[in-house]
Amino acid sequence: MKSDNQTKFMPEIPANESEELKKNVKSASEKVISDYIDRMKKASKNRPETMQYFDEISNFFGQREKEIREAKKNGKKVIGYSCVFAPIELILAAGAIPVRINSGWYDTSKLGDRVVPVEVCPVIRSTIGAQMIGLSPYFELSDAVISTLTCDGMTKMSEILSDAKPVWTMCPPRMKDSKQSLQLWKQEILNIKERIEKLTGNKITGKNLRTAIELMQKATKAFRRLQDMRKGTPVIMGRDAMLVNQTSLWDDIKRWTEKTETLCNELQKKASQKQLACPADTPRVLITGTPMFWPDNWKVPSLIEEATPQGIIVADELCSSDRILNDPVGIDEWTMEDMINAIAERYLMASTCPCFTSAEGNIDRINWLTTKVKDYKVNGVIYYVVRGCMLYAMEYARVKKVLDKLNIPVYYLDTEYTREDAGQMKTRVEAFLEMLSSRVDI
């Protein structure tokens, strides 16, 4: 962190207090991580063995942190990012390591309250709070952070985080259906490319960019294969799949792809031997809304999959899970121009983020949700919103109407970055699942 007299937002925290806080929150977090993993292990007697790899990678203070630290010692640069709009292919092409830095720690949201009011979305408050005590190894290891100005929270968070790191902002247009939007976005991509090159000292060439794109295409293939397996009788619990999806945000992507393929092979075998993750008639739930960052935000998915009656999350529409790797960069000609255009298109056009609007509103999200509901044979939808997450909260009414027409029940579950409301949440989730399970019987 820069010296205090230079910070624009961050309060002064005496070094010993900061250390004490970090120690406490870190040990609490380690406990939360191991508790949730234990609960996931208990949730299904047929839990795939390959999950053990992802359990390990999910530990923020474990193997992956050490690897990145080592790589940095050998001259690698680390580029953090706060939204799935950051063009990963460009980071990889320049030989840097991409890591997502949004915080899923409940405890640090209380620290964020010292900088911004409690009305602000807790994802933002928690990310700020984590920075205040240097909790997130991935943020701390980042040489720069790409921040996309999607919602108000992200926009101002960029300024606040710039107290600690160089923050490179990218401004996505709010409308996708216009020519100038794509042009603007392409300029943003080119701008980021230049900054990445300057930081790493590596030129992004046609050759290394192609390698990076192909690497990510393979990741998408493995990712899609995993999601496809969730369309049939349940072979993997939703929490496990969500953890696999999310670890791709900080794992070595090549190794992640191999492990995900191994996992899919294992699941295929289980499917053929009818080793299910839970009973076949378990109500099938889709989650949409505010991103759920590991580890504390496993609260709601755990409630759903441990409830009586039980539910299984077969799909989600979250930028912290099913939206991360779904769309490959599509290339016709492997020229630099084409590759840049394709990257710009993939990150802008494929996004279903509620920060977008068009002549038909955020129709892409509506279409994507209705397709998913059908493809994954969803019985009910949990619309998850944390307090202060305006864009997702405001799109609910439209989503509800669309799902009503499809006769798919949807429940609006609003919560906070807190563990204390788990009891209340449970009451609602169980009532919703009770309603779904009586429908499944019919």
């Binding site: 429940y411 209340q424 609602r428 009770e434 009586s438 019987d441």
Partner: protein, 261 residues
Amino acid sequence: MTTAGLDIGTQRVKVVILQDGKVVSRKQAFSGFEPAKAADQALEEALSQAKMSRPSLTHITATGAGMKMITFADSTISMMGADAKAGVYLIPSARTIVDVGAEEARAVKCDNKGAMLDFVVNERCAAGAGTFIEAMARALEVSLEEMGPLSLKATRSSPINASCVIFGESDVVTLIHRQEPKEEIARAIFDAMADRVSSMVYRLGLNPDIVLVGGVAKDVGFTSALKRKLGINVLVPENPDFAGALGAALTAANRSKGVQK
């Protein structure tokens, strides 16, 4: 066949004994620090009132905030599921059940068989629930029972903030300082609550008949405020505070017949 339904509320536990589709006895008690013990005792009393004993019960179903504490229950049902069952049993034309209890208000949409189709719960706040009336009665220095009849004397109401018990109370204090008549303040309190509860009903789409249950359904001040707000009739069955327990007892009867849901 005899079954029991237990509703473990935040303030009171309620017990209903159901024999061959008819309520034969009901009892309630304060939940206190040991809701399970209170429920056990209330069940004993309800049984002795009906001149029955434990072995005659084929199934016990619990509902309410503390339902998981009742280890002697055979099964549980969500509060919303219990509301829907009881609402349609009591008033067959019911399609929306509004349940306003001590600390929670909810609205449940259901079909003609009492199966729940959708529901809304008030969000992390007691301002739309019974506790709000209690706190406001204290501020007005009247008893809880006097609040409703007092409000009916008013012909107009003043807007107050019912998004929070604490803010609501400070609004009421402002009205007291302005020397507004007590009955108008009382009416303002019920109107503010009805605002919150009716918005839940509207979120489900207005599906009549609307049936109001829960302890607050006994308050004439609230029922008339809700009717004014919704602009349609709101039906209140007898013993509305036992609706949850009744829904649980009906569920118990279904389950012991082998109908699972």
